[in-house]
């Protein structure tokens, strides 16, 4: 009988303790990803993790898979090159909200438009954690950060809505509180062909929490637990109330042809190059 894989096959136990602050949900997200990979039984050497820069961008330090630790905002650019270079690999881009949507926003839009076979896992903690808590494109309106001491005056991006509009094949949102759901979405995204996005609402008690949520790490976690809302309850809210919550669940699951399939059709020579067919 085949031995079931364990998250430890993907997790560098010897690198513990993790660099992240007490109550930072990055470790929970990391566990969900390594659990999902174990469930899918994808050997670590067939996985490449591509990261940008940020607290979450350090996650590759703790993984046994291949990794490319790139520059801020460019995780998807590197991931695109890796996937086109060897379509047999499972390519996973790990990005913070700043990484994916501020400096990396353009890459995000076009990766989704292309529908290239990459899994994007975005840790959305509503701030730039690594650089001291500046506001990001996902900081909720009127929330305080170091660069918006009286409250941010810009509306936040709906990360999943953006991914959907641009063409992503699979889009889901969960939180690091809802760990089993989160793992399920990550596994579905990795399995599916195309550009697939999982937004994980995450805690940053050190910067976001300290300025906006009275109390400790537990209060920060309760906050993200409560703002995530499934469609059944979300739909019942009026428009103004909706702004206070984030819709969770599998939001998009469609079958647009992925970039490589289209490219091979347009350029048959590309299929004859001896490269694999990918997943």
């Amino acid at each position: 009988m085949a031995v079931k894989l364990n998250y430890r096959e993907y997790f560098k136990e010897e690198a513990l303790p993790l660099m992240w602050c007490a109550g930072c949900g990055n470790g929970i997200l990391l566990r969900a990803i390594t659990d999902a990979l174990a469930d899918l039984e994808i050997p670590p050497h067939q996985v490449v993790v591509s990261t940008g820069i940020g607290c979450w961008g350090k996650a590759d330090d703790y993984m046994t898979t291949h990794a490319f630790h790139g520059s801020h905002g460019r995780a998807l650019a590197f991931a695109t090159g890796i996937k086109l270079g060897n379509p047999d690999l499972h390519v996973i881009a790990l990005m913070g909200d700043g990484d994916a949507l501020a400096i990396g926003g353009n890459h995000f839009i076009h990766a989704a438009r292309r529908n290239i076979d990459i899994t994007a896992i975005i840790s959305n903690n509503f701030t730039y954690g690594m650089t001291g808590g500046q506001y990001s494109p996902t900081t909720p309106l009127s929330y305080k950060t170091t660069t918006s001491p009286v409250g941010v005056a810009e509306p936040a991006f709906d990360v999943c809505g953006l991914a959907e509009e641009c063409g992503a094949n699979y889009v889901a949102r969960s939180t690091v509180y809802h760990v089993t759901q989160l793992k399920r979405f990550i596994a579905a995204a990795i399995q599916k062909k195309g550009f697939n996005v999982v937004e994980a609402i995450n805690t940053c008690p050190t910067h976001f929490g300290r300025r906006n949520i009275p109390g400790d790490t537990v209060e920060m976690m309760k906050y993200i637990k409560d703002i995530g809302m499934p469609r059944s309850r979300f739909e019942k809210l009026d428009e103004e109330e909706k702004n206070k919550y984030l819709l969770t669940g599998e939001l998009v699951n469609r079958e647009r042809p992925d970039f490589l399939s289209v490219y091979r059709e347009i350029n048959p020579a590309a299929s004859e190059s001896g490269r694999g067919e990918g997943k």
């Binding site: 997790f11 303790p17 993790l18 949900g25 929970i28 969900a32 690091v176 089993t180 790490t217 537990v218």
Partner: protein, 71 residues
């Protein structure tokens, strides 16, 4: 024994634990209590349902929930 009739063992790595309090707060059956320092103490193991959510929600890989006698 406990709620699942399986023998569950919980191991907490005190060196890895950063005292975030998640395991203590979010365990539905209140298995843990904090010591003065915030370290989780296993107080009501007999109430453990072996859901393993504390292990999955520990941001620092400090908890291991194990079933000892799983016939």
């Amino acid at each position: 024994m406990n709620k699942t009739d399986k023998e569950v063992k919980i191991h907490i790595d005190e060196a890895l634990c950063k005292r975030c309090g998640f395991c203590i707060e979010f365990c539905n059956t209140k298995v843990y209590e904090a010591d003065q320092d915030g370290l989780p103490l296993i107080k009501n193991l007999e109430e453990c349902t072996n859901c393993r959510l504390c292990e999955l929600r520990c941001p620092d890989f400090a908890i291991r929930v194990e079933v000892v006698n799983n016939e």
